[in-house]
């Protein structure tokens, strides 16, 4: 449902950007648009009752459990990919800085603390609209995470630390603390007012339809 809501927002955003904050009712692995389903342990996800969803954004696989997830949808954005990540990630970095977390933007699409990844981001652009969704790890079970995600040997072969799980960390704050910091950061970074809104019933129905027709459809999930 989360991916369906993000897609719905992307097709219905006006000139006012949307920043959505959400969590997950059930643990889930999301895989990037271009990834092979073989990049995750699909069988283990089933056994562990972890949902699997393919995103409309590129990037790598993500295990969503105890985290804060956000999406940013806007018709105005820097055209260069790296510039747009930098600008949007500034919301996250500034917000976490107010919680005394020394977060940094780590190009292209990561947020790091002390050199360890505490969040990732992924974008798509369609019909003049940018969608970026991203995560902030509040608490991470690394054993579980890396038993579900397969990290190719080629990906870690050039890193100083061979085991991917040593490059991941968490912010150890509550969902509400981080959510508030991001809302405050939006005002600071963009100098704008924020207006909290919720999806209307008919909008939720549209999202449910997208979730059923696309994101729950094996043809989409297993397409690559």
């Amino acid at each position: 449902m989360n991916m369906a809501i993000d897609e719905y927002l992307m097709t219905h955003v006006t000139d006012t950007p949307i920043f959505r904050i959400y969590g997950w009712s059930n643990p889930c692995v999301s895989i990037g648009y271009f990834q092979s389903i073989e990049d995750i342990d699909f069988q283990k996800c089933r056994i562990e009752a972890v949902d699997v969803v393919r995103r409309i954004t590129g990037g790598g696989s993500v295990f969503h459990e105890k985290e804060l997830t956000y999406s940013f949808v806007s018709r105005k954005y820097p055209p260069k990919i790296i510039d747009s990540y930098q600008e949007i990630c500034q919301i996250i970095v500034s917000g976490l800085n107010t919680l005394d977390i020394d977060a940094k933007f780590s190009p292209l699409n990561d947020i790091t603390v002390d050199g360890k990844k505490i969040g990732g981001n992924a974008q798509t652009r369609k019909n003049g609209v940018l969608l970026q969704h991203g995560t902030i790890l509040l608490e991470v079970n690394k054993e579980k995470m890396f038993s579900l995600l397969k990290v190719p040997i080629e990906k870690i072969s050039d890193k100083k630390i061979p085991d991917a799980k040593y490059r991941v960390s968490q912010v150890s704050k509550t969902f509400d603390q981080v959510a508030k910091s991001l809302k405050d950061s939006l005002k600071l970074v963009f100098g704008c007012q924020t207006v909290p809104t919720k999806l209307k019933q008919n909008e939720l129905e549209s999202c449910k339809k997208i979730a059923k027709d696309k994101y729950s459809n094996p043809n989409w999930t297993l397409k690559r």
Partner: protein
């Protein structure tokens, strides 16, 4: 890396999968005809970014029948990726990755 596999239906077909770490991971799953030196099917996966995303389907279908030589592959990719935004690979590196699959077979 997956070792080359001969396709039972076509003894001239060779199937290879190789992954490369460029700015992002790029994996190429290639089936080619070693006699005609042409691509029979190709799937390109990884954690890279490409806008619009659907371009990947076009690339994979348009590369079928292309001669497995760097200049041919590169020329095709230049045309298909024209106007696209992408991060994690370049036209040169993607061409290299595709051609390297063939070299695995010749070792």
């Amino acid at each position: 890396m997956v070792s080359p596999i001969n396709n039972q239906n076509n003894p001239n077909s060779v199937s290879v999968k190789r992954c490369f770490k460029f700015e992002k991971m790029v994996c190429v799953d290639l089936v080619f005809d070693k006699t005609t030196n042409t691509i029979q099917s190709i799937k390109i996966t990884g954690d890279f970014f490409l806008h619009p995303e659907e371009t990947i389907d076009l690339i994979e279908s348009e590369l079928v029948g292309t001669k497995l030589e760097k200049d041919w592959v590169k020329k095709k990719l230049e045309s298909l990726l024209s106007g696209c935004e992408f991060y994690g690979f370049s036209i040169d590196s993607l061409s290299y990755a595709i051609i390297r699959c063939k070299e695995v077979d010749s070792h």
